[in-house]
């Protein structure tokens, strides 16, 4: 239910034999509260759950917009939105004696989606609400269509698909690529979502000068370095000995060794930049 | 696949028999075609009966081949395997009927059946002269391995029975 300043004061006055949850929010475009819009979707789901309460309702949900209840906001010294207030009953079996008159949850500090909100309501008032999310027909339709097209596709190209799957080179590239990717910090990027690169005064910083953190571009460069070194080593093992001309082979060997040493020295140099006290260096 | 054949064949015998009924003119080509058709009908009829009884045929072929080709020692092991499998099934049915308390005893007994089956099957595989992969393993060594793994296995079973 939508509240105004006056109804708010009325509902929160004592005595109460019901629990009241008030959402303090604002939809004023001047304030540009993105979180209020996001939270509003969850609020609508929870409000429907409120409406489905069996028997006599013991908990109520109200929403107070900043425009309607400015004095309430200032009286309670609420500076950030969205905000959830909980007024427990003052009489009846679940009355709260002593302590504050109401609890508050600041949604800028703590995440609250529909499920967590219902969980909170259950924990403080003992009333269990169930959220029923409407079935997203478009998503269902898309999935079914994708599945059918996938089945048709597989039936059509079954034999050639088999050939592709059995190709050893494909698996080699896939496995080695994934391996090098993981070992160059890809999961760290996935979990911590760092910036692509840093920048100070317009100068791009490629390597973050800390031991436990990295930029995305940094992990890519290191991955490429590892891959290049491995390729050089594999080349020295598999390709170079098959060169028939002795002179060509000698040049190939020297180039391979030089490449390997350069790449490896550079990797060590990069590591020395990240970890200040590292004492070893190879060539630069 | 056998079912598909059976579904298709009922139509043809009727049509071929119809042709048979039509007055066979003494002209030889007609007789020849009639004869060809009748033989086709008979082969098709034979194939339907084959399809219907091919399952039984397959199994009987399997059994006869098995009887002929497996040496006596392997048959003994196979009989033992069947026996062990029966004990496992009996235990499982009992648990479904009588509940799982105490669970560790059930698990010990059931896994004992499964394990004995597996270990004996290993022995059979290793002793089977047709298996080319085990040329380096003499039957005595295979049996020794079997004993070793069985002893370890039963030690755990006894500990787990509670």
């Amino acid at each position: 239910m939508k509240l105004t300043g006056a109804t708010f004061d009325q509902l929160t006055s004592q005595p109460r034999n019901y629990s009241l949850f008030v959402i303090m929010t604002t939809f004023d475009p001047n304030h540009r509260c993105v979180m209020c819009k996001e939270f509003d979707k969850d609020v609508k789901l929870v409000a429907q759950a409120f409406g489905r309460q069996k028997d006599e309702p013991r908990v109520f949900l109200g929403q107070l917009d900043f425009a309607d209840g400015r004095q309430v906001f200032s009286k309670l010294n609420i500076l950030t939105v969205p905000y959830v207030l909980h007024y427990p009953p003052t009489e009846g079996p679940r009355a709260r004696v002593g302590g504050a008159d109401f609890d508050k949850i600041d949604l800028n500090r703590k995440e609250l989606d529909a499920d967590a909100f219902v969980h909170y309501i259950d924990s403080v008032s003992g009333v269990k609400l169930t959220i029923r999310r409407p079935i997203n027909w478009t998503a269902v339709g898309i999935y079914v269509a994708l599945l059918l097209s996938a089945i048709v596709f597989v039936r059509l190209v079954a034999s050639s698909l088999l050939v592709v799957i059995q190709n050893r080179k494909l698996w080699t590239v896939l496995t080695l690529g994934l391996s090098i990717l993981f070992c160059s910090g890809h999961m760290w990027n996935n979990i911590r979502s760092p910036a692509y690169n840093g920048g100070r005064n317009g100068q791009i910083e490629i390597f973050q000068p800390g031991f436990q953190s990295q930029y995305v571009i940094e992990s890519q460069i290191v991955g490429l370095l590892y891959a290049a070194t491995a390729v050089v080593v594999v080349g020295l093992i598999t390709k170079v000995p098959t060169i028939q001309d002795p002179l060509k082979q000698r040049t190939a060997v020297y180039i391979g060794v030089a490449l390997f040493l350069t790449l490896w020295s550079y990797t060590m140099r990069v590591f020395r930049y990240k970890n200040g006290g590292y004492p070893y260096k190879l060539f630069f | 696949m056998a079912k598909k054949n059976a579904a298709q064949t009922p139509s043809t015998p009727a049509s071929s028999s119809k042709k048979h009924v039509t007055p066979a003119t003494p002209a030889t080509p007609a007789a020849a075609t009639a004869a060809a058709l009748s033989s086709a009908a008979s082969t098709v009829a034979a194939s339907t009966s084959n399809a219907a009884s091919s399952q039984v045929d397959l199994i009987s072929r399997l059994l006869s081949s098995y009887n002929k080709e497996t040496p006596q020692s392997l048959k003994i092991i196979d009989a033992y395997l069947v026996f062990v499998m029966l004990t496992g099934i009996i235990q499982f049915v009992y648990v479904i009927l009588a509940g799982t308390f105490p669970y560790n005893s059930f698990l010990a007994g059931f896994i004992a059946s499964v394990g004995t089956f597996v270990l004996a099957a290993n022995l059979r595989i290793q002793v089977n002269p047709k298996n080319t992969e085990f040329k380096h393993l003499s039957p005595e060594r295979a049996f020794a391995d079997y004993l070793f793994s069985s002893i370890i296995f039963y030690a755990f079973v006894v500990n787990f029975l509670g």
């Binding site: 070992c183 999961m187 594999v234 002795p246 490896w264 | 070793f148």
Partner: protein, 738 residues
């Protein structure tokens, strides 16, 4: 050389080199013993040590049925059912063996040196494993690599008496036995694999990795069409004996039949049975019709089995992937639902410098080795590839799992280096590539013969001596730098016992900081035996281990509410905390404070986690926002919020801190700011002991007042009160105003 023929010469050379590698592995883990003394490190090993002492003193049955009353007061802890007994039993057996031989050795020495001893064994196990992959020369390289690789040293230094110390040896050895069983199709090796797997299950929770990797390997072989009776024999023997034996451990119990972690093994077992049966029938009949029908049967079984598994999981008969392992797949899961797991520093994801730090040269050689496996692709090489890709993923997700990646990186890198050296150290010139067999050539057309004659016959090898040299020397150089790197890392990063610290004094001499043990021994000698100590869970094991007193919470972290209660006591004001402490019978409180000396692992730095965990259970009493200033800063000086300055932890940390600075405002060197200028007054607790460098501070909780006054009133009795605006004070105190 010694008058032996060349083959026995090679064997002797190998034995000598391998022994030297094992001794090297043992020796390079002894830094902390040489620098400080033989003492158990860190936190978890203290608990393991305590249980081992219990085992040695009271015997095996008492150990298995032990109920620990000293921890998690008032709940206690059933140790027998919640611990992996492998490492304790191993240490106990070694101790017993040595005492029977009349070597009087203290159990502590056995515990301290157990991990280095087993790391020598791991080197031997890695040698055996790599020898199966390629040849003994590669094996020696692998043994050397794993002997010094910092990724493994980090958890197996002398003094780090933790599960991983023996678990990695068991992991590598189990894998070696599995490969051997697979290659020979031998039930003997399969049974041995199961035995060592049983030992591994008793030692570490990471056994789930084994029981999922081996079925994955079997499955990959089946998919590649490489099913063979060898695979059947090896896997079935391993699975049956291994599963039954793993259920003997009380901590594991019936999990192999009831949780999703183990279902993959069961599924592959069933699949193997069906396929073997099908193959056996096929030898009697050879009709294509039958074959396609049976392929359909196999696929049908697979789908039914999988569907049944999903159904049983939803029905609750089989538990889904549990928290710890689930958080490896869904990486955001732990932060939301299990914050304690998310807060452990070892569970953070791995950035690339950590990979480089732990593996250096082995890191780029690792893909090269895996590529060589792809070229040969025997059954065992498939195993290396699978192990490599899964281990890299897990190591990327959690720092602690770098440990499982290290063995395979060592093996693969050894394969690459060994192959390289094979080619470039070969004495002979290039050898001709073996041509196709003559029979096939005869069948081919004349045109092809002509084409072949035009090309020079293919040769494989290196022509000139200087190119061989130019590869061998740089490889030697790079390997040497690798060895230096490993030694440097071991010496600097992984050898600190963390219970004893060392720093440089002003004149450069080494200063040993032994505050922790000082405080724990003070507790041991000066407090009554039944005293209860409240401290944050990090220190629980150390307190019970060294001072032998009861604690409220310890590193096992199995009860989140209890930990949150302690967090509440730390974060709330003195009076609220006093209520909590009285309810829990707390006698002494212990805080770690690093501001005086610059030790940054102290409780004020961990305070935010205490608040968060406490807020999770007591949202009405604690609110994280109240500890931050209006501008969102976390401060400890005069501008700290009132909640911060009133909290018990703040007061305990900075009580009489200003006195250290002779009356001026104290300066906290860890946070880098001055502290509050107002002197702190405590009325519910009093200072009992502070260590030499003020790192550990002990406070005694006061008993309730004899006359029934509130403690704050009792403490202000007889003291002059500053004139303040009249507030309705608690009545009885007025009497004493002077």
């Amino acid at each position: 050389m010694l008058g032996l023929n060349s083959s026995s010469e090679t064997v002797w050379l190998r034995v000598t080199i391998l022994s030297l590698v094992a001794i090297l592995a043992f020796a390079s883990r002894l830094f902390s013993v040489l620098r400080f003394e033989s003492v158990i490190h860190e936190f978890d090993p203290w608990f393991n040590y305590r249980t081992t002492v219990e085992l040695v003193e009271n015997g095996f049955y008492d150990f298995v049925n032990w109920f620990d009353e000293l921890s998690w007061y008032p709940l206690g802890r059933v140790v027998g059912g919640t611990v992996y007994p492998g490492i304790m039993v191993t240490a106990g057996l070694i101790h017993k063996f040595l005492t029977t031989l009349n070597f009087p050795i203290h159990i502590r020495e056995v515990c301290v040196f157990l991990a280095p001893l087993f790391s020598g064994f791991t080197a031997i196990a890695a040698y055996l494993l790599t020898a199966e992959m390629k040849d003994p020369a590669a094996g020696l390289l692998a043994a050397a690599f794993i002997g010094i690789a910092p990724g493994y040293i980090s958890r197996s230094v002398a003094g780090s008496y933790d599960n991983e110390g023996i678990a990695i040896f068991l992991l590598v050895f189990t894998f070696y036995l599995w490969i051997k069983a697979l290659k020979l199709g031998s039930a003997f090796y399969g049974a041995l694999t199961a035995l060592f797997y049983f030992w591994m299950v008793s030692a570490w929770g990471g056994y789930v990795f084994i029981i999922n990797l081996i079925p994955l390997h079997a499955f990959a072989l089946i998919l590649m069409g490489r099913f063979s009776t060898r695979l059947y024999v090896a896997y079935s023997t391993f699975y049956v004996i291994g599963t039954l034996s793993s259920m003997q451990i009380p901590f594991v119990g019936f999990q192999p039949t009831k949780t999703n972690d183990h279902m993959a093994a069961l599924g592959i077992f069933g699949l193997l049975q069906i396929i073997a049966f099908v193959e056996m029938i096929r030898t009697h009949l050879s009709s294509n019709q039958f074959r396609s029908l049976l392929t359909g049967l196999v696929i049908g079984f697979f789908i039914i089995g999988f569907g049944g598994l999903v159904g049983l999981t939803y029905g609750g008969y089989i538990a889904p992937w549990t928290g710890r392992f689930y958080s490896l797949w869904d990486t955001g899961y732990a932060k939301k639902y299990i914050p304690i797991i998310a807060s452990v520093s070892e569970h953070q994801p791995t950035a690339w410098p950590s990979f480089f730090f732990d593996l250096q040269l082995l890191m780029p050689l690792f893909p090269a080795g895996v590529y060589l496996c792809f070229k040969e692709l025997r059954d065992e090489h498939v195993f290396v590839i699978l192990y490599a890709i899964t281990a890299s993923y897990f190591a990327g997700v959690m720092v602690r799992l770098m440990l499982t990646l290290t063995p395979i990186v060592c093996v693969a890198a050894a394969l690459a280096v060994s192959r390289l050296l094979d080619i470039y150290l070969a004495n002979a010139g290039p050898a001709p590539v073996t041509a196709a067999p003559a029979t096939e050539k005869d069948v081919k057309s004349i045109k092809e013969d002509k084409k072949k004659e035009k090309k020079k016959e293919g040769r494989f090898g290196i022509w000139s001596f200087d190119s061989k040299l130019s590869v061998v020397l740089p490889i030697g150089l790079v390997l040497t730098v690798f060895a230096w790197h490993c030694t440097w890392v071991t010496s600097n990063a992984y050898s600190s016992p963390s219970i004893v610290l060392a720093s440089r004094g002003r004149d450069g001499s080494q200063v040993i900081i032994d505050d922790f043990r000082e405080a724990y021994y003070w507790l041991r000698q000066n407090t009554p035996e039944k005293a209860k100590i409240m401290a944050w869970w990090d220190y629980g094991y150390q307190i019970t281990g060294m001072s032998n007193r009861t604690v409220l919470v310890d590193n096992n972290t199995w009860n989140n509410t209890h930990i949150a209660t302690v967090g509440k006591a730390m974060a709330c004001s003195e009076d609220v905390a006093y209520e909590v402490m009285r309810k829990l019978d707390v006698d002494y409180v212990l805080v770690i404070f690093g501001g005086a000396i610059g030790y940054s692992g102290d409780d004020i730095n961990k305070f935010l986690w205490m608040i968060r965990i406490g807020e999770g259970v007591y949202p009405n009493d604690i609110s994280e926002r109240n500890f931050f200033t209006d501008r969102g800063e976390y401060r400890i000086d005069d501008q700290a919020t009132k909640t911060m300055r009133d909290s018990l932890l703040y007061k305990m940390s900075y009580y009489r801190f200003n006195d250290l600075f002779g009356g001026k405002t104290g300066y906290d060197s860890v946070r880098g700011s001055h502290v509050s200028t107002k002197p702190i007054k405590l009325h519910t607790i009093e200072e009992a002991y502070s260590t030499e460098n003020y790192i550990v501070r002990l406070y005694q909780v006061k008993k309730p007042d004899n006359i029934g006054r509130s403690l704050s009133a009792a403490s202000t009795f007889g003291k002059k009160r500053k004139r303040r605006s009249r507030k309705p004070a608690s009545g009885k105190a007025k009497k004493g105003r002077g």
